[in-house]
Symmetry: C2
């Protein structure tokens, strides 16, 4: 195996081996662009490094030596040569871009001798000394892991001694002094001298970059961006070029099109007489790229030409870095540019129009996750720069929101009634009681709960921004305060800002920008729709949700959680009365009162969906979720029911469960209280008949949750069929409807052939299936999953992206067993994975018929489904 | 298909079709014993009856008519004949005996005409009228389901009018009056006359007996005795004989050997001039069977002869019913007699010695479940007759106990310290904190929780009697009272009695009888051991448990739950300190304090097991289970830790989980806090080394709980290996040990091939696997599972007997995947199913290596494992 490739040996298709940066440097070399030459140590070498217990193997070292020799020939310079030294940079470069996550070292090859010889040869001693002192500083930090402060402190000390403010005011002599002090500090910390052998420097630097693949930042970034740790990083060793060699030098970055809007116009900035890090540091303000035409017209024209070459060559918007050294332009990097969702769509559609790419290519160019964000507000750029992050939780529901914090749904309601609109609801964890408050709030923040916690699921459904599982905060509900990790206390009505797309929480109020949806969006989505095979439905509980779902292109409602209809004030009263009833008769009486409301809701859903499929799931949560928790509410309820508080307490206690997620819920409720299923069947059938009588079509599918055995299913199905027959007989009308079940308990998967023989459809409830397959409570796992990510045991949140090895295997098994038994069965998924692009690709692969997700995720799901088709082809 | 068989057409091997009673009546007929003739309507006819929506099909009716004609020929009597009427009984008879659970009707064929004609012919009008009135009464009750009280009330009224006390004092004329009143009442209730057509009576009676297969009593009985509802019952129609025709008549029951002790001696009782129901009713005191020799020597001699014939024929102890009608002996029933565990063993061993049966047959003769009961006290018979049942829960841990009730483990300790020994601990549900209290109590009663709840598992482990999940009780922990379903209130220190073998709870104090274990037991268990293939280990947490386990023949410890070692006072303090520590350092410091205790415990276990395998499971429960709950204890803890109560509360709150069963527990703890696994590895390795240095052998297996992914397993295994290496290096000794895991999360099953490649053994933790496969929380499911049983959705508690269709399929899959990958892997089971005979048979079938169960269940498991081998042969 070959572990090291010269730039002239590679090309852009070797990304997996050379990393993105390396592959593109090779590609630019091959098409004749001016690139400082060098070589890439492959990702395979990185994996080998880890296999060999973090040591560079002999073959790798030998190949690096060979490549250095080759580079010396190309450059006409020599590593360690006193007069004409080869200086190199060492930079990471993984398959996927991970900007700023790993380490870089510059100026390798410099040492005491080179430094003095080079000074003489170059004539610019200040420049040479500065490079040397930067090397020592970076080497100490990156390779040795010594605290940055030790060196910064020395540097400041000397600046103070010399009475200067800026680094640039230090003279060559001053810098020589800095170098001496640095070397003393280095040997104190390292118990050895700073290495003078350039090859030792180089090999240590390569190892350090490999190690930085597993620093904490990088691990977190990979998890958030679905990058497997098994990929490893490549390392690029490249001859140094300097943008800080005078007024005929400079450095800059540019995009071939505007990454924010997609506009077809060069977009970028540069600095004269500066290095890359100066652009980033922000001490001097960079100039807009067009102005380079005035300062260095030749270089500018050449750069514009290269931009065109690169975009045409890569057929995508490029993000480039360049350096001009003494009037000569060098390209240091090119890559596909990151862009906003809006820009992504515009560029994709434009490029199709320009004939650069096909529609299929265009569909692959947009990240399906971005579409969701595109539909929500974001923070204004300026606000973002000014604000400070105070904590980070899970990016549970996208969007940006600023507001005053309130700690209960009730307080939210009160604030709203008194005219407040900027509201953030902060809760330990939400429960169905909080829905009203969540609906009024701009954003929701919870301390517990993962990507499929109640807060996350409901907020995504509403399109409300939500950050969940922010375990570094502690809430004191009584005092109405939040305590930050650093001890700061926030009080009720203090402002905070949430970014539900990143999970960041900011202090204070921030300005937001509303999304703009262009005509390109429609065009683009049409392409997606005509490509995809999977159906896309929405999870929608209310007529309002249903309207939203249709707006976003849902082909039906894949999940209507009927219990969400019970929380409105008058309904919850009757529902609670039902729960507290001791006899079937009393329960029936209370249910009788709820029936008209449910019927009206269902009718509105049918009307909104105009004949599209509507999957109604029967009551699912345990009954205790519907009972009040506060003494005050319990008193009220006792009064209005004519019961004693004692009695209500006793009943609440008797309903309490140790593990409600595995308790008395789902179809288990219908088995204990068949009258609930009867009422729900009656409501939904009467609604369907009513709407059909209005001349509208309906397409009703009744879904029985949490089935684990055939007899369970048949028992509840029978209630549905009997009641439906009764209603149709009463009304002398026939309405066709389907009956099916959720497959969400592992046992149901094992017998799904049997169940399929009696079911019209299955919807895989992968939220619960994930909980029970892993034995992870979605409300509790957030706390310990962090340790799993940090230790590399899990790379992704299995509640966000389906765990193909475990849960996915069960879904596949269930789908296969079901289809073998019942060829016509409709198979879908309605867990949160239904909106996750990677999981959608999996659903496509195993041949499900549809996915169902929250309305705002529908466009992304449509795109992901199209992408799955295209990717399958290649 | 033939649905009805004459007695002369069947034999004893047709039990599945004819039911036990029918098959034995046929067998007795075929070997020439005096049996009143008749016929059996098959279990197939019963199933058909249900398929046909509870109607007798025409073929069945036709066959019954044919058989009646045949019976008329045999008996020389005629159905409905006025002079010489054929009267018949209709009795249920299922495959398995279900005494008293289903219905019986006698004297069918009687009507107005028959009654008067028969009176003339027979001459005993009183006898004839009494039979007619009994028929009407039974028919109204069993066939029509009218309240018994209506008829009893009329009967009492007439007795009062006539001024008599006893039924027998009523004259023929009086009874005629009763009949008239009965017929009026019947037609009032039924809106039709009492049927005069004997064939109508007969067919209705057969249907009613079929229906009684699904009465509530029968369903419950089947569930408790593992009888599938799919078997159905047969119905026996038999010519009536009467033991109440005068002083030369009588009726009785007898066993060929003593059913309580097994002694080889006829055992039974009889009444002169009486019917079977009189023996049961207990108004007259029956005579011991030997005395029949004095009254009717000829009949007695014949009966003794028949007993011998039957026992020799069936090669088992028989339980028989007989009637003598006018000096002629009739056998009405024979069946294998129910017997105590003690008797079962004595009879089995004796019969082998007598050369009647083989050892294998003997092994099949004893119910493996009975062995557990055999090792525990039972209630004294007299006490049982005097006591009243006040509630019933689950038979969670066998044995009988009387005592004063206490509501907290603390109160139990106090009472114990003050000298009280008769203690019953009553809790909503127990937690590990209660272990000390459970240990001191004679019995444990809980309101929640099923067969594998904490209370059940721990009590079984201790051999303490326990009734769990008695949801009809409500406990008020503050007031220290129990409220019974009928509103009665019991207070602290009131006496109750628990039968952990039946789940019955009695009022007041009852006498118990200690078990007697005979030499036959040893002989019998040796036969079992030389037959079985499966290994039998015990779940044992303490040296005391381990000694008990060895006494009962365990071949090793299959599960040592190390957390149970943490609850002793000094240890729990350090463990709590560990939990409340904020830094790893502080945690390590606290763990350091626990290490010596664990080491000592482990060493004691190794010593007790003398080189037999000891499987040590690392810490499993969530940490919050170890923290105090009461304010008082929290204050104490705060004081001794020098923390504020506030801080402790905050930490308790932060550890709280919504679904602890799927929370931060098992190997997840070792991932967050590797130092815990390090300490446990160190303790167990140091203990093994210590014991080996004493010259004893050890056989250590370290078990990592709750594994769900390969990386999780490797992470913890690596901690174990590294720490063990360290300890062995320190001590300069090598000890061999195995590392394996529990397979208890569905995901682990799916990847068990992968895990098997790195594991020395698997232990299927079917408690948790059942929870997650069904999505049933073992602590909550008891509440709704009753509805499942009643509605026929589940027939067995899946926590008691393994659910072969679902959970069993997963175990089988996991075992197969594992063996394919690693031929040498040792496979066992350590869930509660490890002690359940039916589940043990399943483990044998799928080729596991061993089962592990609580010490008291070990003998039963040894027997069940032997039975599995024998049954497999045939």
């Amino acid at each position: 195996m070959k572990y090291v490739y010269a730039f002239c040996e590679g090309n852009k298709d070797m990304r997996n081996l050379l990393g993105g940066k390396g592959a593109n440097l090779a590609e630019m070399t091959s098409i004749g662009l001016p690139v400082p030459q060098g070589f890439t140590v492959t990702t395979e070498a990185c994996l080998k490094y880890y296999q060999d217990h973090e040591e560079l193997s002999e073959d790798v070292v030998l190949e690096i030596r060979d490549q250095i020799s080759a580079l010396e020939k190309i450059s006409g310079k020599k590593l360690g040569d006193v007069k004409n030294p080869l200086l190199v940079s060492v930079r990471s470069g993984a398959r996927a871009s991970m900007p700023g996550m790993m380490d870089t070292i510059l100026n390798l090859g410099m040492n005491d001798e080179v430094c003095s010889g080079f000074c003489e040869a170059d004539g610019n001693a200040r420049f040479v000394y500065d490079n040397y002192r930067r090397l020592i500083q970076m080497f100490a930090d990156v390779v040795k892991g010594f605290p940055k402060s030790s060196f910064e402190h020395l540097f400041d000390k000397i600046k103070k001694e010399k009475g200067v403010q800026l680094d640039t005011e230090l003279t060559a002599e001053d810098l020589k002094e800095v170098i001496d002090e640095y070397k003393i500090e280095y040997s104190r910390l390292a118990s050895e001298e700073f290495p003078q052998d350039p090859m030792v420097q180089l090999l240590e630097a390569v190892s350090a970059v490999f190690r930085s693949w597993n620093n904490e930042r990088a691990i977190t970034y990979r998890r958030l961006n679905d990058i497997p740790s098994s990929w490893g990083t490549a390392v690029n060793v490249q001859e140094m070029v300097y943008g800080n060699r005078g007024e005929d030098s400079g450095t800059g970055v540019a995009f071939t099109r505007n990454p924010a809007t997609g506009e077809k116009k060069l977009y970028g900035e540069y600095l004269i007489n500066a290095q890359g890090e100066d652009v980033v540091a922000g001490i001097r303000t960079p100039q807009s790229i067009e102005t380079l035409n005035e300062v260095m017209p030749e270089n500018y024209q050449e750069f514009v030409r290269i931009c065109k070459v690169l975009e045409d060559h890569y057929k995508d918007m490029q993000d480039m870095e360049f350096t001009i050294e003494n009037g000569k332009l060098f390209m240091l990097q090119t890559r596909s540019g990151k862009r906003t969702g809006q820009a992504a769509i515009k560029i994709a559609v434009d490029m199709v129009k320009e004939g650069i790419i096909t529609k299929e290519e265009a569909l692959l160019r947009v990240d399906a996750n971005q579409l969701d964000q595109l539909l929500h507000p974001t923070f204004d750029k300026e606000s973002l720069q000014k604000s400070s992050v105070i904590a980070q939780g899970l990016a549970a529901s996208p969007g940006a929101a600023s507001g005053k914090i309130y700690f209960t749904a009730e307080d939210v309601s009160k604030a709203y009634e008194s005219g407040e609109r900027e509201i953030i609801l902060v809760r330990e964890e939400t429960s169905p009681e909080d829905i009203e408050g969540m609906n009024l709030a701009r954003g929701v923040l919870t301390v517990r709960g993962g990507m499929t916690s109640h807060a996350a699921v409901v907020a995504r459904g509403m399109g409300t921004c939500c950050v969940s599982g922010c375990s570094e905060l502690s809430i004191d509900a009584n005092k109405k305060t939040i305590r930050l990790a650093d001890g700061t206390i926030l009080h009720e009505e203090d402002y905070i800002s949430l970014d539900g797309s990143t999970g960041f929480i900011y202090n204070g109020k921030m300005a937001t920008v509303d999304p703009e949806i262009s005509g390109d969006f429609e065009t683009f989505m049409q392409w997606a729709d005509s490509t995809r095979v999977l159906g896309v439905k929405a999870n929608a509980d209310t007529p309002k949700d249903a309207m939203e779902a249709r707006k976003f292109g849902a082909e039906g409602i894949g999940l209507c959680r009927t219990e969400h209809m019970f929380f409105e004030e008058t309904r919850i009263f009757h529902f609670r009365k039902m729960i507290l009833s001791e006899t079937e008769e009393a329960r029936r009486e209370a249910l009788e009162k709820i029936l008209p409301y449910q019927r009206e809701d269902f009718a509105a859903l049918f009307r909104a969906m105009e004949g599209r499929s509507v999957v109604i799931r029967f009551l699912d949560p345990p009954l205790h979720e519907f009972l009040p928790k506060k003494e005050e509410e319990i008193s009220q309820l006792a009064d209005s029911l004519g019961m004693s508080k004692e009695e209500i307490h006793t009943r609440i206690l008797s309903l309490k469960e140790f593990n409600p997620m595995m308790g008395h819920r789902g179809c288990r409720l219908a088995i204990t209280y068949p009258e609930i299923a009867q009422m729900q069947t009656r409501a939904v059938m009467e609604a369907a008949i009513m709407v059909e009588k209005e001349g509208l079509a309906t397409n009703l599918e009744i879904m029985i949750p949490l089935i684990g055995s055939m007899k369970e299913y048949l028992y509840v199905k029978n209630i549905v069929l009997e009641t439906a027959k009764e209603v149709m007989k009463e009304q002398a009308v026939t309405v066709s409807f389907k009956v099916g079940t959720m497959i969400e308990v592992p046992r149901a998967v094992l017998i799904s052939d049997e169940i399929a023989s009696e079911a019209d459809f299955f919807s895989f409830g992968t939220n619960d299936l994930t909980q029970m397959t892993f034995g992870f409570s979605r409300d509790d796992a957030a706390k310990f999953l962090n340790d799993y990510y940090e230790k590399g045991i899990l790379e992704q949140d299995p509640f966000k992206t389906i765990d193909e090895e475990g849960v996915g295997r069960l879904v596949h098994l269930g789908a296969s067993l079901a289809r073998d038994e019942n060829r016509d069965i409709e198979l879908g998924i309605c867990g949160e994975h239904g909106g996750d692009p990677k999981s959608i690709a999996f659903c496509h692969k195993i041949g499900l018929d549809y996915v169902s997700c929250s309305p705002f995720r529908v466009p992304g799901a449509r795109l992901a489904a199209a992408q799955a088709v295209i990717r399958e082809k290649y």
